[in-house]
Amino acid sequence: MPTPHEGSGISGRHGPVRAPQGIAGGILLIALAALALWLTRDLDQGTLNSMGPAMLPRWLAIGVGLSGLALIAFAFTREGEPLERWSLRGPFFIILAILAFAVTIRPFSFGGITIPGLGLLVAGPLAIIVGGYASPEARFRDLLILALSLTPFCMLLFGDLLNLPIPVFPQALAELFPADWSQKAVMRVTAAVLVAGAFVVFFTTRGSRKTTIDVADHSGRI
């Protein structure tokens, strides 16, 4: 959504616009105000004596809109900030990771699609690995190890120690274990398997990628 303003902002440095950031911010505020006014259009404003539901939102929206107009006006008269550079990679992967977590943590249906509840066991690693790619320096191996070690930690911390009502593993997994096993026993065994997996990945892939790791460690940047 911000991309359209970006071009005008950069060229604006040469035109009458002296604070492109102000223009963009002003447009954002006005759009927000318009949205709020449109959403409250059917609501009753009431009187000061008995305020209706729309009274405050409407006046606030007008205030927001006026601030937006003022910002735009000042953008022509006062020198201000240029627009900052936007990156899409970061927000894209972060949002994707959060959405992935949200739809897998427990049964979720959207439209015709139903995703079974997969619990923290799937949602956690998914969030870490997908989210990890938000950084251009992402490395799959490191993210995998991180996912395999943090997920069991969280399972034990939130599920076992703190007893929070968070789904930990899919129901299908529990059925693989003997019927007389308790939820917690299953959770602990699963966590142990994940940690073991983390160790396996760590030790088996260490030799082959050694050079890259060394580079990272000695690059001076920490």
Partner: protein, 500 residues
């Protein structure tokens, strides 16, 4: 005086029980642990860790949360000194001289004096809260809706004046915040407002979700934009205890900082933020040789750090006595209290004296623990600081998701942190500061409620706000502040304070 002592002894009786001691310790430790991580401020830390306090009794939970808060604050200072990345606004000042000291091989002394100064400030602030708690609570009882409304207006004006950058943008952010707070069912009429017909919006936007999105997720997005260059100190940490000379130089700044911070912290509208800046400016002004500042002057760490901690603590006063959260952190405390069935306000002290005084006493205990935890464990924090951000942020991301999911067990909450993260990122990119918006959101509901009541009492006449003397006084202060802040000469000074 006798009252104060008996109240405090009641409080210490609660705070020193084995369970609460353990919870305070755990809170401080976990808070420091997360707070040390660069790019995670106290708001995100508390929002993330809120669920781990659910299992305890209210007193224990609040003691732990308070511990997390100080821990996160303190961890932020550690990061500021060792890495020169201020975790949040209040440790910006600490980074100036603290990091310079660290480069000169005096990181240990900087951390030591920060810890000692904070402890002293914390002790004084605890006494201030204990002393002011009772009288302010009585004052709160004579406050009607009209006065409450005017007080909150004043708080918001403070927030505008104290926000960095353009005043116009800060005002806009406050208005947007209050506007966001009106989303959901209208309490009086039961009509849905701006919910898009979505059922999960009818209760309004959850504060923890908004805070987590704006301060947790948006921060991650923003940090990813800057190619990371962490300047972790390579020099030895050095000895931790300041020597005689250091003490001689810093005991006065510590006392002045404590005083400034404690007073500013009481102000509604996040006055605590100003404490470190004010203290730094003051120390620089009265120093014999102001050029030393920015080059590793110990006063530049001692004063602001004390102010920071004193303010962090006295900002509990408006919450505990008036029920008005002065900043986002305290708003999260409101959330935590509500989850445990406690409505913050003047009645907490009378109805729940063990909770009230226990929490106050635990503040002192928590400060002592921070001193004990931080200094010996400094090696661990340094190691933590060396974890690269590319591995840190996915972990933070997952903790945010788990934390927010556990509050209401709603996947939609998780999705909303993504949305608000994007909103926060957009706002930051357009030069808006999100903190005032959060405060506007926090106070919005209370304001609307009190505005309505006040207007019903006055039969719809707005004059009630200037006819009642207390309310008129508060509004006059607010108007004066706004005018002063808009004066060109003061504006220049304000910009200088914030750019320093």
């Amino acid at each position: 005086m006798g009252d104060l002592l008996s109240n405090l002894s009641l409080g210490f009786g609660v705070a020193l029980s084995l369970q609460n001691l353990f919870l305070a310790f755990l809170g401080c430790l976990v808070g420091t642990l997360i707070g040390v991580l660069p790019g995670v401020g106290p708001i995100a830390t508390i929002a993330m860790l809120l669920p781990i306090t659910f299992g305890f009794d209210p007193t224990g939970a609040l003691i732990m949360l308070a511990g997390i808060y100080y821990g996160a604050q303190y961890g932020g200072s550690t990061t500021a000194i060792l890495v020169n990345i201020p975790g949040e606004a209040t440790s910006v000042v600490t980074a100036l001289d603290g990091h310079e000291m660290a480069r000169q091989g005096r990181a240990g002394v900087a951390l030591g004096i920060a810890a000692i100064g904070s402890f002293f400030a914390g002790t004084v602030a605890t006494l201030v809260i204990a002393a002011l708690g009772a009288p302010l609570t009585k004052l709160a009882l004579i406050f009607g809706p009209t006065e409450y409304f005017s007080l909150m207006v004043m708080g918001l004006v403070f927030a505008v004046v104290l926000a960095r950058g353009s005043i116009l943008k800060a005002i806009a952010m406050i208005l947007v915040g209050v506007l966001l707070s009106t989303v959901g069912l209208d309490l009086e009429t039961g009509e849905e407002r701006m919910t898009f017909g979505l059922p999960f919006l009818s209760d309004g936007i959850d504060f923890a979700v908004l805070a987590m999105g704006i301060f947790g997720i948006a921060e991650i997005m923003r940090n990813l934009d800057h190619t990371e260059h962490r300047d972790v100190v390579r020099q030895a940490i050095g000895r931790l205890l300041p020597n005689k000379e250091d003490f001689k130089q810093s005991y006065k700044p510590v006392m002045r900082g404590t005083l400034i911070g404690a007073i500013l912290g009481i102000l509604p509208g996040n006055g605590a933020v100003l404490g470190p800046f004010a203290s730094y400016t003051l120390e620089k002004k009265i120093a014999k040789d102001p050029r030393r500042f920015g080059r590793g002057a110990i006063e530049g760490v001692a004063g602001p750090e004390s102010a920071n901690n004193a303010g962090a603590q006295t900002s509990f006063i408006p919450l505990l006595t008036l029920g008005i959260p002065p900043n986002a952190v305290m708003a999260l405390m409101v959330g935590a209290m509500t989850i445990h069935g406690i409505i913050p306000g003047p009645q907490v002290m009378t109805k729940n004296p063990t909770l009230f005084w226990g929490m106050i006493a635990s503040m002192w205990v928590g400060n002592l623990m921070l001193l004990v935890i931080n200094l010996p464990m400094i090696g661990l924090w340094v190691r933590l600081l060396k974890v690269p951000y590319r591995l840190l942020f996915p972990a933070i991301l997952m903790f945010c998701c788990i934390g927010i999911y556990s509050i209401n067990s709603l996947p939609t909450d998780v999705m909303f942190i993504a949305l608000f993260g994007l909103v926060g990122y957009t706002l930051i990119k357009f030069g808006f500061e999100p903190a005032p918006m959060l405060l506007g959101f926090v106070l919005g509901k209370l304001m609307e409620e009190n505005l309505r009541r006040a207007l019903i009492l006055s039969r719809g006449s707005l004059e009630t706000f200037i006819e009642r003397p207390v309310s008129a006084g508060l509004l006059a202060v607010a108007a004066l502040l706004l005018i002063v802040a808009l004066l060109p000469s003061i504006r220049k000074g304000r910009d200088e304070v914030f750019t320093e």
